[in-house]
Symmetry: C2
């Protein structure tokens, strides 16, 4: 991470970042991530190597940046208005729609990267950070039973589990079915939290 991605970039810098992003996504539809070289990305995007290293530490860093940008597209801001146990379903809802909207690209990528399960690992990590914010200990009520970090991670894991089952492992099924699995897995916690209100 050579620079702060949350800061605003100049128009020129954004053009460069977009070009490398496009080059990587394009390369990923044709071969596994491990086989992609920085040289190749520079050829595809018509930028010299030094420019690449101006922005990124290495190709993993670029991947990291791409996940960051995609993650930002999942809008969760309105969660503050909802009750804690509802927030999880807001997250599920937005993430489901987002992934469904990008299913074409996703399928092309995992076709060559089915075994590189770590590809999506940092996406998980980033989403996990956001989920942890959503279940701030000051707001949630499970404190006395289980540490809130465990609850937040468990929520994050479970949402991602059903989403990965649906979209990554080639399982068909409606959004409602997937939601039902999520509700079933979290049945106990939600029943308890409802009871506490």
């Amino acid at each position: 991470m050579k620079r702060d991605w949350t800061k605003k970039t100049t128009r020129g810098a954004q053009r460069t970042l977009d070009a490398f992003t496009a080059a990587m996504l394009n390369a990923l539809t044709g071969k596994p991530f491990e086989q992609i070289t920085v040289n190749e990305l520079c050829e595809k995007s018509n930028y010299p190597r030094a420019t690449f290293y101006n922005y990124f530490d290495d190709k993993y860093d670029l991947l990291h940046y791409i996940w960051h940008c995609l993650n930002r597209q999942i809008r969760l801001e309105q969660y503050e208005e909802t009750e804690p146990e509802q927030r999880l379903f807001v997250l599920f809802d937005r993430a489901y729609d987002f992934i469904e909207a990008h299913q074409g690209t996703l399928n092309r990528i995992i076709k060559h990267n089915a075994k590189e399960s770590f590809l999506l690992f940092h996406f998980r990590v980033q989403l996990g950070d956001r989920v942890r914010e959503m279940f701030d200990p000051n707001i949630c009520r499970y404190r006395d039973q289980v540490p809130h970090e465990i609850i937040a991670d468990h929520y994050c894991n479970t949402v991602l589990l059903v989403l990965e089952w649906r979209f990554l492992h080639g399982n068909d099924g409606s959004k409602e079915d997937t939601l039902r699995y999520l509700e079933h897995l979290l049945g106990a916690l939600n029943a308890k939290s409802l009871h506490e209100f």
Copy 2:
């Protein structure tokens, strides 16, 4: 993976494998995984680079092998005698004791590798495969409600979540406390499965 790790190795090969394993574990106690080079491992173990590549594709592959060996040390064989929902607690029990026994080495490693969360990623994957076997669909009873792969992964995630919270995130606490968190997170599923008997 250059060769089948489940096959028996010759004495000479085993000596070489052990040397590289020791070199990696030793290196990990001094610096982050990313900064370790194959050259360094060869210097430490007094083997030429080509020998390393004889056994492993790269340093990730060696790490993979090390997790495989460690994983084999967690003995779960007797699970067939127990009821499905008890197996999870057998897994928890064995894994907890195993990690606790290696806590010294583990702490030295994560001291330099706290941010390299993917280090343990493949360990998770491998343990997940074993957990999935434990909850074979022919034996488990949740088929009609949630696909059994989801249940198995959810069990695996949850056990690993509480173990990581306990040992990786620097939280103290008794085995009983940790077990209580696990039971709480899985409360609904177990209540249901008990009911079905």
